[in-house]
Symmetry: C2
């Protein structure tokens, strides 16, 4: 269906991922998985060491086979970026080169803006061992360097693709930072009135059990207990459960005292 | 030296990474590498399927051996989190459970705040195939779910550790979002005066070459050219290079005309 395809393209799309001279097929496959995790599907492969297609790439991509099947092969990096308006290059090292260096987060926001304006973007990733050469970096407008532990910053190919793709996905994602989950069944905390009813039931039971031994300490202890239960923001169902617990415990206690006194 | 160790602890530290019932040693090793990439060193392993120590974990950790060597083994998840004040659990699926669900970014900021207050944090990661059980999730205060392509959101263990660790690192990192790199040699764009001098030299050369054929178009063309060169924010060295180019090209042109006229 045309409508379905259009929606899919809007969800997926995103910058091209250009793997320059990748070595191991397994890494190409793992990069394809990382791309699809982040909704990226335009893989471009420049002069892979072990030729193309590579059966090891396809098997390592398990589940992301479509990305491998769609991947395009190029002889040079220039050809791979020929149709792009903005090219980013990933590099762990700084270079003797006057060129903007962005974090993945900044680059992701920039790519979202460029793509919204209809300007196609791509990101270069170098070969596993050496990274991109200066000649390849020059093809890019901006270098992306991932801020990581400076004493241990090297990433494998798929991890670099994952982090840059992750930031791209986050830049267009509307997931709330913090929600309460119950698979959509959660209806929020109970209205305060129900909570206050529970507090009264609870404190009456505590009074009867002579829990607040010293009268003048009662107000502060009640405040603290109310605070404690208020902090868990119980739902209506949970407030009902708490009522049930107080009833059960006081019932059992009474029964226990009854037993102690030999009553049956 | 004591001073050095203190500084190291401050740079590294961070939340504990608790691998619950991990299966493959290779994945434990890869998780150790991802941890060290993000400056995390407190690895805790609960009931690993293939026992502990695991030589495959040590070899896959190449470079992050210290994390593996320091890793602590626990029989139960409860024991592994016993000394922690805040426990997060990673989960790809939503659960029938009333519990806060945070993005990795939100969780990272929260963990930085908790740690600044001296409250120790830890993050649970489930076994490769099934993820954490509901009984393990209940041990956590907050669930972390990574927003990813909903049609393809499963991550391997090391990638999940990498993304959560990456956000933790970013939350405490001061790398500027965008800088111009030249390994610290970059001194900013040339002062505007030098740029204006170049424009005059350049436009004089263009006048002499009769480039602006139609007089009334000259002002707009000059504006566009000045805009073009201004956009590249040239350094002083680059402005000197541009002067040299204009001089060389006009010299070659004059020589060329001289040659055309048979002069030597």
């Amino acid at each position: 269906m045309a409508g379905t395809n259009t929606r899919k393209a809007a969800v997926l799309g995103g910058p091209a991922v250009v793997l320059v001279a990748p070595q191991l097929g397994e890494n190409i496959g793992a990069a394809a998985r990382a791309m699809l995790n982040c909704g990226l599907v335009d893989m471009r492969i420049v002069a892979p060491r072990d030729g193309w297609p590579n059966p090891r790439a396809a098997s390592a991509a398990s589940g992301a086979d479509a990305v491998i099947a769609r991947a395009r092969l190029y002889a040079t990096t220039e050809e791979a970026v020929a149709d792009l308006a903005h090219v980013f290059a990933t590099s762990a090292r700084s270079r003797y080169m006057v060129k903007p260096v962005a974090t993945p987060r900044h680059a992701a926001a920039a790519m979202r803006s460029f793509e919204a304006a209809g300007e196609r973007c791509g990101i270069l990733f170098g070969p596993e061992r050496m990274g991109l050469t200066n000649e390849q970096i020059v093809l890019a407008d901006t270098v992306i360097t991932v801020p990581l532990n400076p004493a241990f910053s090297s990433l494998n190919l798929a991890q670099a693709v994952l982090l840059v793709g992750y930031e791209w996905y986050q830049a267009g994602d509307a997931t709330p930072e913090l929600v309460i989950s119950n698979r959509g069944r959660y209806r929020g905390p109970a209205p305060k009135e129900l909570l206050f009813n529970f507090f009264e039931h609870f404190e009456k039971a505590l009074d009867e059990a002579d829990f607040f031994r010293v009268d003048h300490k009662r107000p502060a202890m009640v405040r603290n207990l109310r605070n404690l239960f208020q902090r868990c923001l119980p739902t209506e169902q949970e407030v009902r459960t708490l009522h049930g617990i107080v009833t059960a415990l006081t019932g059992r206690r009474k029964d226990g005292r009854a037993r102690e006194r030999g009553e049956e």
